[in-house]
């Protein structure tokens, strides 16, 4: 009996990872600048005339579902990249974003992480910035400019700064080598977590520009395509990973198609 207790006591000295606080911004294994690194990987891939990507919703605390999702994504041919459209974490903890990155790193193609409202909780925004990069960023792939931004207005108490309409207008100006635009953010503009003062300017920006193919979101736990503001521009909302659905999006010659994939 005594021997077992000695062994147990010894085990306690060996297991577990040293943690300074659940709210610490990183540990010695935390990756950094993932979006920048993954966009570089994307650029190094050979592309064809089809942009095919996966739009996944909130991954927060759905680790088992995310593992199944990764297996499903890897079984689809021709996927160029994957987007987690915000709420990577549930509590804004570095550990949660690391767990998701561990799972998403098994995807054969690069993935991009968008900032969600839950990712801003506690030290979350600093953690996201260190691990993924700036919350407003763009990349151009096959003549399509993906404009990714922070639309979590409620987290800033609707102070009029989020989303940053000036930045969005600048990024959506005509640009050499860009034929179309896709806007991607966590919170859709037509719900009450989006700054009501900025809804119209945002809607005008998206629906008033025929080169914008879609506005893509998550947050409201459903797979659905809306056509708000009397417009034909789709607002595509991806379901949470826990509900085991994601969107497969394809863009060919300026035409966007979408399909819900179950796993």
């Amino acid at each position: 009996m005594k021997t077992y207790l000695y062994l147990l006591a010894l085990l306690l000295w060996g297991c577990g990872q040293v943690e300074y606080s659940p709210n610490q911004k990183f540990d010695s294994n935390t990756p950094s600048d993932l979006n920048k690194k993954n966009i570089s990987k994307l650029y190094s891939q050979t592309n064809d005339d089809t942009v095919r990507f996966v739009l996944t919703g909130d991954t927060q605390r759905a680790y088992s579902a995310c593992k199944s999702m990764v297996t499903k994504i890897n079984s689809i041919e021709g996927v160029d990249f994957v987007v987690i459209n915000g709420d990577i974490s549930d509590f804004g903890l570095y550990q949660e974003m690391e767990w998701i990155n561990d799972i998403y790193s098994d995807i054969k193609v690069p993935y991009i992480g968008i900032l969600g409202n839950h990712d801003i909780s506690a030290n979350g925004k600093d953690i996201y910035r260190r691990m993924y990069g700036e919350e407003n960023f763009c990349f151009v792939y096959d003549s399509v400019k993906f404009v990714c931004y922070d639309s979590n207005s409620r987290e800033y108490n609707f102070d009029g700064s989020i989303p940053n309409i000036n930045w969005l207008s600048t990024e959506m100006k005509p640009q050499e080598g860009v034929k179309n635009y896709v806007a991607i953010s966590h919170i859709p503009s037509f719900i009450n977590d989006f700054d009501p003062k900025l809804e119209k300017p945002y809607a005008d920006l998206i629906t008033g520009n025929k080169k914008v193919l879609a506005s893509m979101h998550a947050h409201i736990n459903q797979s659905h395509v809306y056509y708000p503001y009397n417009s034909t521009t789709p607002f595509i909302v991806a379901n949470t990973a826990a509900k085991k659905e994601f969107y497969l999006i394809e863009i060919v010659n300026g035409k966007l198609t979408h399909k819900v994939i179950n796993f």
Binding site: L5, G16, V18, K25, D90
Partner: protein, 204 residues
């Protein structure tokens, strides 16, 4: 701003202590009870990169302990963060090594950690509807399991006031990690949510 919170917290604690003292008969025996029975210092264990504080023995057999600590995480280690913690644990089993030391192999416990600061403490009034976020960002509830080697100070360090020196390892997890694991038991091991810290406790 964070230092303001610490000052406010300190003043609140002082006030609380004052009321406790004035509501009780502040006799010498009671005041003696407020003198800590030990000092504790810890590396990691989710309450700071380093933390330090005071320790009280509980129960007649002194098998229980109550620690109050302050810990800090510097910027270079993922901070800056300040962490206050109150920790209780009990040592049910003792294995003696002659009269030099005792091993307490499995000591269950619980502790509460508190992160002061705007990012953790206050939601703006009216910003969120009730229950929008269900958890506290500032306060974590942990469960722990520690093992301690307690060296007999009277034997090893005679002529000092040190009664004993304890070296310990403490595993812990918190309620947010636990709910993360609970919903994903099929893909996560319990060890994925276990964190560790190491410390020294000096008993007077």
């Amino acid at each position: 701003m964070e230092s303001l919170h610490i000052r406010l917290l300190t003043s609140k604690l002082t006030l609380l202590l004052f009321f406790i003292l004035s509501s009780l008969r502040a006799d010498a025996q009671f005041l003696r009870k407020l003198i800590p029975d030990g000092a504790v210092s810890q590396y990691g264990g989710s309450i700071g990169f380093v933390s330090g504080g005071i320790s009280y023995d509980l129960f007649r057999n002194k098998r229980g302990s109550l620690d109050f600590t302050y810990g800090h995480v510097p910027e270079s280690k993922g901070g800056p963060l300040d962490v206050f913690a109150a920790k209780f644990f009990y040592r049910p089993i003792r294995i003696g090594i002659k009269d030099i030391a005792g091993i307490y192999p499995l000591n269950p416990g619980t502790f509460v950690s508190f992160h002061p600061g705007d990012k953790f403490e206050n939601w703006n009034e009216g910003q969120y509807s009730k229950g929008y976020y269900w958890w506290s960002r500032s306060t974590r509830i942990h469960v722990s399991l520690s093992s301690e080697l307690k060296l007999n100070g009277k034997k090893l360090l005679p002529k000092t006031r040190i009664d004993a020196i304890g070296i310990y390892s403490e595993l812990n997890t918190n309620e947010l990690y636990a709910v993360s694991w609970f919903k994903n038991k099929d893909s996560m091991s319990f060890l994925d949510i276990v964190r560790v810290g190491y410390g020294v406790r000096v008993y007077f």
